[in-house]
Symmetry: C2
Subunit: 241 residues, 2 copies
C-alpha cells in the first residue's frame, strides 16, 4: 500500500507580495506527514479567478486530496468558493445549513446576517461543511478538495476537525543525523547507501554557520528496522568513513 498523496493551494496576494510569511503550509505539511499522507505539491497563487481554477483542476486530478487556504471571508477579494464551484462546474448559493451555523455567531442570530455576512454562507452545490470553532463561518469539502480559511488560527482549527475524517496512510518515520562534514565528502558514500535501501529516501540538508559548516542527513521511510540499518551504515561509512 502506498500512502495517499495530497496537493495544497495557498490563495493570497499577501504571501506573494512578501507581506506575510506562510504559516498554513508549514503547519499542514507537518500534520499530514504525521498521519501518513504525502504532501506532493504546493501552489501559491494570487486572488485571481483563472489561477485558482487552474490550480484546483490540475491538483484535484493529480492527487488523492487537495487542501486550500484563504479567500473564503466576506470581502470583495474572497473569491475562492466561487472558483471552486466553477472548477467543478456546479452552482453556488447561500445554503441553509451554512446560514444556520453562521447565525450562531451573532447576538440576534439570522437577523444579523447582512449581505456581506451571507457571502460566507455561499457553498458550492454538493459540498459538505467543515466546522470552524473560532469564528463559525464554515469551510467545505467539495469531493476531494477541502477548502479552508487563510487566517492561521481558523485554518488550524479546521485542520483539527478535518484530518481525523480523512483516509490516512502509514506514518513516515524519519531519523536526522548531524554530520560535521562538508557535503562534498558526504555525497559519495551517502549516494551508495541510498542505492542499497531503495525503500527509504535520503536527504542531505547543508548549513553554513560562522566557524563551520555541515549537513543534516535525513532518512525517511515506513520501516523502522530498515531505517535503523541505514542509520548504522551512515554512522560507519559516512561519519567515520
Amino acid at each position: 500500500m502506498t500512502n495517499p498523496t495530497a496537493g495544497m493551494i495557498v490563495i493570497g496576494d499577501e504571501i506573494l507580495s512578501g507581506r506575510t510569511r506562510d504559516a498554513n503550509m508549514y503547519h499542514l505539511a507537518g500534520r499530514l506527514t504525521a498521519i501518513g499522507i504525502d504532501l506532493a505539491e504546493v501552489r501559491i497563487v494570487a486572488d485571481d479567478r483563472d489561477q485558482i481554477i487552474g490550480a484546483v483542476n490540475a491538483l484535484r486530478h493529480a492527487h488523492d486530496m487537495v487542501f486550500t487556504s484563504g479567500g473564503i471571508g466576506p470581502t470583495h477579494d474572497d473569491i475562492t468558493a466561487d472558483c471552486i464551484a466553477a472548477a467543478f462546474g456546479v452552482g453556488i448559493d447561500v445554503r441553509e445549513d451554512a446560514k444556520a451555523v453562521l447565525a450562531t455567531n451573532y447576538p440576534n442570530g439570522a437577523a444579523d446576517l447582512t449581505e456581506a455576512r451571507l457571502r460566507m454562507a455561499r457553498i458550492p452545490d454538493g459540498a459538505d461543511l467543515i466546522e470552524n470553532q473560532v469564528s463559525k463561518a464554515p469551510g467545505f469539502s467539495m469531493q476531494n478538495v477541502h477548502v479552508m480559511a487563510g487566517v492561521p488560527r481558523v485554518f488550524t482549527c479546521m485542520v483539527d476537525w478535518l484530518l481525523p475524517r480523512l483516509a490516512q496512510g502509514t506514518p513516515v518515520q524519519s531519523v536526522t543525523i548531524n554530520a560535521n562534514l562538508p557535503e562534498s565528502k558526504i555525497a559519495g558514500p551517502l549516494g551508495k547507501i541510498a542505492t542499497e535501501f531503495p525503500d527509504l529516501t535520503f536527504g542531505s540538508y547543508p548549513y553554513y554557520e560562522d566557524g563551520g559548516h555541515g549537513a543534516n542527513l535525513v532518512i525517511r521511510g515506513a520501516d523502522s528496522t530498515q531505517i535503523a540499518r541505514a542509520e548504522a551504515a551512515i554512522r560507519t561509512r559516512v561519519l567515520n568513513g
Copy 2:
C-alpha cells in the same frame, strides 16, 4: 507599462514534509516587490525529475522570469541542474568556468575537486553563472530561469548578486490600515471603494486575537497620490462609516 511577472519553484522534500519552514520564498517575495517585479505564482515540488521539469516548463512560458531554490549541491538528491537541462532540451556537463570558480574554495584548488565536488560544476549548455560568495559553488541563469541554492544563506547571497542585473519595474507602494472591526462590517464599503479605484488593489486580512478581532486593510498600487485618496476614503467610509 506593466511590471514584469515572475514565478518561483521551491525544490525540496524538506519543505513538503514539514521538516523545514520556507524562508527563501518569503525572502524573495519581499525583494521582488521592492523592485517592481510581481511574483505571480510559486510551486513547491519534491526532489522528483518529472515534477521539476513540468514546473519549469509551465512557469518559464507563463512569466517573464522564474527563480528556483534548492537541489544544486553535490549529493544524489541534487538533480535540479539536470532537470533544467532536460526542460530546455540542452546538454549538461562540467564546465571550465564553473570548475575554476569552485576550485577557489579548496586549499589545493582544482586538485581537490573530487567527483562529488565536480557535480557542482555541471552547468547546462548556454547558461550564465550566478555568483556564490558563501561557498563558491555557482548557481546559473538559463535564459529566463535563475537557478539558486536552497540553503537560505547562500540563496540570499545569490539573490543579492542577481537582482540588480534583472529588468525591474515600478515598485508597488502599499499602505496598511488597521481596522478594529469585523470583516463583515468592512466588506460593503471596502468593496465599493475598490470599484472606484480600478488601478489599485485592496486586500483585507482578518485576525483573531484573545479579546477582539479586526482586519488589516492593505492598499497597493504604483501611484502614491491615488493610494492617499483611497486611504482617506477608507478612513472616512469604512473606519467611521
